[in-house]
């Protein structure tokens, strides 16, 4: 069934988009990643203009996050205090990101920067996750105790930051500046890459801040919810690239998928789930790296003046 997207200016197969949203939604419910890192490249691959893909996938992540946040908060899986600090950082980051986006767009290097960011960030995080989860899987096979997570619970530079707060859900007593900074970086990435930032937030909360694993996914979704909502607004005001029809189609798939995902994850052993996510992340990174080095289909691109 073909549907015309009014902002993107092309017609797409509605079913494909809904299924794409559904697949991404399952991931989002399982791992607390918004799935933007998958949606954006896939939409661009399908022929949607990059600006529209980035802006509309931000809208879609908002919806997918809502159902995820509700599901997790019912199980006390959200630390609202930590989430609030992350959101404050994220909002600041998305404003700064909007400025950088425009600068890069003017110089014509936005596509390259997006590509490089994807390759380095996803490659780095994917490798780290794969290594960690592989160790855990091996340990579980041999019947031994799971290996201790090698990161320090208390990092010196985080402990050195002033004004410590208690984050009960996360089981932390740290300065809010650390999560604020983390939120700022994710906010930047949300605007630049059209991702919720979950794929960087989740590992950073686990391994850098040492947040209790019980609330990591829920809190990450909570942050993504607000930051992507802010990003939708920023894009609507500046780039006019939010396509509501496209976002609606993605949403129908992803909100359903997110519900399925958040239940599937309880049946899967956590280290296996992390391994799966690591593989998906690495695949996207490799694909993006190839995309940068292969001779592109279109040597020439046009931009309206």
């Amino acid at each position: 069934m073909h549907l015309y997207l009014p902002i993107a200016g092309l017609s797409v197969n509605a079913l494909v988009i809904v299924l794409l949203g559904g697949a991404v939604g399952v991931l989002s419910g399982m791992f607390g990643v918004g799935g933007g890192f998958l949606t954006t490249p896939l939409l661009i691959f399908y022929g949607v203009p990059p600006a529209v893909a980035v802006a509309s996938s931000a809208t879609q992540i908002t919806g997918a996050s809502v159902s995820g946040v509700l599901a997790h908060s019912r199980r006390q899986g959200v630390d609202f205090r930590l989430g609030g600090v992350l959101v404050a950082g994220g909002a600041t980051g998305s404003l700064v990101g909007g400025f950088i986006f425009r600068l890069l767009q003017k110089s014509g290097q936005i596509d390259t920067i997006i590509g490089l960011l994807y390759v380095f960030l996803l490659g780095w995080i994917g490798l780290a996750m794969a290594r960690e989860s592989a160790r855990a899987v091996v340990a579980a096979r041999s019947g031994g105790p799971p290996p201790p997570i090698t990161t320090q619970r208390h990092r010196k530079w985080i402990a050195a930051l002033p004004f410590r707060w208690r984050f009960y859900g996360a089981g932390l007593y740290i300065s809010p500046l650390a999560p604020f900074l983390l939120g700022l970086i994710t906010g930047l990435l949300t605007v630049l890459m059209g991702v919720g930032g979950g794929f960087i937030l989740v590992p950073a909360m686990l391994y850098v801040l040492g947040v209790s694993a019980r609330v990591v996914v829920g809190t990450s979704l909570f942050q993504g919810l607000f930051v992507t909502a802010a990003t939708t607004l920023v894009h609507a005001l500046t780039t006019h690239a939010v396509d509501l029809v496209l976002a609606g189609l993605l949403l129908i798939g992803s909100v359903t998928g997110a519900q399925i995902g958040s239940h599937v994850v309880q049946q899967v052993r956590p280290e296996r789930a992390r391994m799966m996510l690591a593989l998906i992340v690495l695949t996207v990174a490799i694909r993006m790296a190839l995309g940068l080095t292969w001779r592109p289909d279109a040597i020439y691109t046009v931009q309206l003046l």
């Binding site: 009014p6 908002t62 159902s67 290097q109 390259t112 607004l233 005001l237 509501l244 020439y300 309206l304």
Partner: protein, 296 residues
């Protein structure tokens, strides 16, 4: 659009050089108009009328006239739009009566022109990045030409260049002071890109002419077509010469919901953004309660 077709929906023959000549108005040199007696004036105006009627015959060239029409002068892009087929048809009127044996018709459909920045990628340090760019002042956003025979068999390169018939004859007006070589490279790149997205197309043989008097052409309009005001120019060609031309205007616009969304996004961006957020929150929440209820 060039000055040749400034009049909307204008039909009829091209202005023949002869029609610009001053018509002999009957007055003799040195005779003042006021001095002409009443009877002479009546005779004079009759003579003038006769001359006007007889002019085409006197000139010897029985210039044919084109009466064009299109299936849609307004194409609406609605939710199910996957492209359209535009039917251009019409009649050729010959003042002399019998149509000559070889008559060819070329139809050119042009979209609104827009200024563009074309970027060129090159491999730098192992990755492909944009490294050079060229501005073009007015590039037709859409260009399709349909002809009854391949264009190179129809018109001379010079005529084709004058009337911008054929994709290679488009005047793209590069704005940078780049070398001619570089301009050609960018023009080729731009045209190739437009061709690939289906926005520039040549349909040789897509016009059929029946007994030299009726013609019809079916030109596909792709789904990615930009909105705006289009022109459909029809040329009647004989012996490599354009003997008649006519223009029709076509509007392509979004309609209904699609139009509403587009105008909302550009005119009320804040409300549009908010409603986007509201939509996603609502759908997310509905799914959450829906699933919670289904599981209970």
């Amino acid at each position: 659009m060039s000055a040749r077709f400034t009049a909307r929906g204008r039909t009829g023959p091209l202005p023949h050089p002869a029609s610009h000549m001053m018509l002999p108005m009957g007055g003799r040199v040195g005779e003042r108009a006021g001095a002409v007696p009443e009877r002479a004036r009546v005779r004079q105006s009759w003579r003038r009328l006769l001359l006007l009627v007889a002019l085409p015959l006197l000139l010897g060239a029985a210039e044919p006239r084109l009466v064009p029409d299109v299936s849609d002068t307004q194409i609406d892009i609605a939710y199910s739009f996957t492209g359209a087929d535009l039917l251009l048809f019409g009649a050729i009127l010959y003042p002399g009566g019998r149509p000559p044996a070889d008559t060819d018709v070329v139809v050119v459909i042009k979209g609104p022109s827009e200024p563009l920045l074309v970027r060129e990628k090159a491999k730098v340090a192992g990755i492909w990045i944009n490294h050079a760019s060229e501005r073009f002042r007015s590039v037709p956003s859409f260009y399709a030409v349909a002809s009854s025979r391949p264009l190179d068999q129809l018109v001379s390169p010079r005529t084709a260049a004058i009337y911008e018939i054929g994709i290679d004859n488009l005047l793209l007006s590069p704005a940078n002071g780049a070398s001619a070589n570089e301009q050609t490279r960018f023009e080729t790149g731009l045209v190739e890109l437009k061709r690939r997205t289906g926005l520039y197309a040549e349909h040789a043989g897509a016009v059929s002419v029946r007994e030299g008097v009726l013609y019809r052409a079916l030109v596909p309009i792709p789904a990615r077509v930009p909105v705006g005001s289009y022109t459909a120019e029809t040329y009647l060609i004989r012996n490599g010469r354009i003997v008649a031309a006519a223009t029709r205007e076509i509007r392509i616009g979004k309609s209904g919901f699609e139009r509403f969304v587009t105008t909302a996004a550009s005119d009320y961006p804040f409300l549009y953004g908010l409603s986007g957020i509201a939509l996603s929150l609502l759908l997310g929440w509905l799914a959450a309660i829906g699933f919670a209820r289904a599981r209970r």
